[in-house]
């Protein structure tokens, strides 16, 4: 009887293709990743069928469940300049270090100067906090009543600085002979579904008072087929 000869197989696998693939994916994710930033507030936006994407160049106002407002500008440079101008307006000096830190931050909801009866954290202190400590701060929202309308100032300075920034970029592009695509500044409202509409209306009033009438309302894409019965 012939002896069955087992094929001599090498126990070690050739891992090269797997490694290739793994690195390809790593590279892909590294390049496409926009890391998740920790917002000081969780906003659960309502859903809609709209599939328009949010433009890059936006000033975003978040409104949480209780109607507190938070301010954000996407562009770091514009953020820095806006803070500088706000500092001049409210007579607070921000060091270059603070400006830099502010540029890398996300939305915030603390007043720059206190309003009557306010004892919480102010913006300067908020900027200088450690990241881990900052997330524990309970923001009071940016004041936007008729007497202390800090939100309006933030929006106005943000708008001016964004326009300046666009102009510098345009000049730079022209100097180098590159094409320049101007993306207009948009105003986004990100409100929680459970927010009282009156709170949203107050914020919209801040905008309409300074002649801004067009908004992007941030929503989630509706799941499943059209009209969901709720």
């Amino acid at each position: 009887m012939a002896k069955i000869k087992m094929p001599k197989s090498n126990p070690s696998l050739d891992m090269t293709p797997m490694v290739d693939l793994a690195f390809l994916l790593v590279t892909f994710f590294m390049l496409t990743a926009t890391s998740r930033v920790t917002e000081p507030v969780i906003v659960d936006t309502p859903s809609s069928i709209s599939d328009k994407l949010l433009p890059e160049n936006v000033i975003m106002i978040s409104i949480d469940e209780k109607g507190k407002t938070f301010f954000n500008i996407n562009n770091a440079e514009v953020r820095k300049h806006t803070l500088e101008k706000m500092g001049q307006q409210y007579k607070i000096t921000f060091t270059p270090e603070e400006l830099k830190r502010f540029g890398g931050m996300t939305s915030f909801g603390v007043p720059i100067v206190p309003v009557e009866g306010y004892t919480g954290v102010l913006l300067k202190e908020y900027i200088n906090m450690e990241d881990s400590k900052r997330v524990t701060v309970r923001s009071s929202g940016i004041p936007h009543d008729s007497v202390h309308n800090q939100l309006r100032d933030w929006i106005q300075f943000g708008r001016i600085e964004a326009a300046k920034q666009a102009k510098t970029q345009k000049d730079k592009a022209e100097l180098l002979g590159r094409p320049f695509k101007y993306e207009p500044l948009r105003f986004a409202l990100k409100a929680d579904g459970k927010t009282n509409y009156i709170a949203v209306k107050e914020v919209i009033k801040v905008f309409t008072d300074i002649d801004i009438y067009r908004f992007n309302l941030i929503t989630d894409l509706e799941q499943g087929p059209a009209p969901a019965a709720e």
């Binding site: 509409y197 009438y213 908004f215 894409l221 709720e230």
Partner: protein, 219 residues
């Protein structure tokens, strides 16, 4: 995988030391693969893919135009209130009836289900929806260009009334809310208007008389 050099373990004597070390050409890739997958997992978990979606909306700079518009056009006003309450009335608001003998405005209750708001809008906006459907058909058959379709669809939504042909004007919708309505309801209404191809809508403030009527209706 890694070869162990046994040194003089074999007991072959002096010859062993002179022989060149037999090194494997293969590198152990395990740590590298480990690292690669670790990074992969990290980026997969931390990256956010979807950018948020938005709805564009224009707020009226001046509500005078709208008030004029509802007089001449086919208008419907929605009033939102607490606990997902939704009411509507047609045309202009007459709290005590008007000179022409029209009855006082009554608020009709509806809801956010597909049998409520959706159905109502489909009925009221039938003319526009039919016209847009026809345009879509034409677009599909390549009879009209994409841009023409868009232009015609927008024109259709904002069309003027044509009594001679019995065509009503495009539907105009006003959204009003009291102090207790939530933001989600507003979005739901706007969303439904978009689904039903209503071209003209605005969010406006509510008058005191309307509020009184709402409070009387919604006890």
């Amino acid at each position: 995988m890694a070869e162990v050099n046994t040194g003089d373990g074999g007991g072959h004597g002096k010859h062993d030391k002179k022989r060149a070390k037999k090194s494997s050409t293969r590198i152990d890739m395990t740590p590298m693969v480990d690292l690669a997958f670790l990074l992969l997992t990290f980026f997969v978990l931390t990256s956010t893919f979807s950018k948020p979606k938005t709805m564009e909306i224009n707020f009226p700079a001046d509500t005078k135009d709208i008030k004029e518009n509802i007089k001449v056009n086919n208008a419907i006003t929605f009033i939102l209130t607490k606990d997902d309450g939704l009411f509507y009335y047609n045309g202009e608001f007459y709290p005590e009836g008007n000179a022409k003998g029209l009855p006082p405005t009554v608020l009709t209750k509806t809801d956010f289900s597909s049998e409520g708001l959706h159905k109502l809008l489909l009925e009221r906006n039938k003319q526009t929806l039919d016209a847009i459907k026809k345009l879509e058909e034409k677009l599909k058959n390549k009879e009209i260009a994409d841009t023409t379709y868009k232009r015609l669809a927008v024109a259709e939504k904002g069309r003027k009334a044509d009594p001679a042909k019995g065509i009503p004007a495009g539907l105009t919708v006003l959204i009003k809310s009291d102090d207790k309505a939530v933001y989600k309801n507003i979005i739901d209404v706007i969303d439904e208007l978009n689904i039903c191809n209503v071209g003209m809508y605005a969010i406006v403030d509510m008058g005191q008389k309307e509020l009184d009527l709402l409070n009387a209706t919604n006890k």
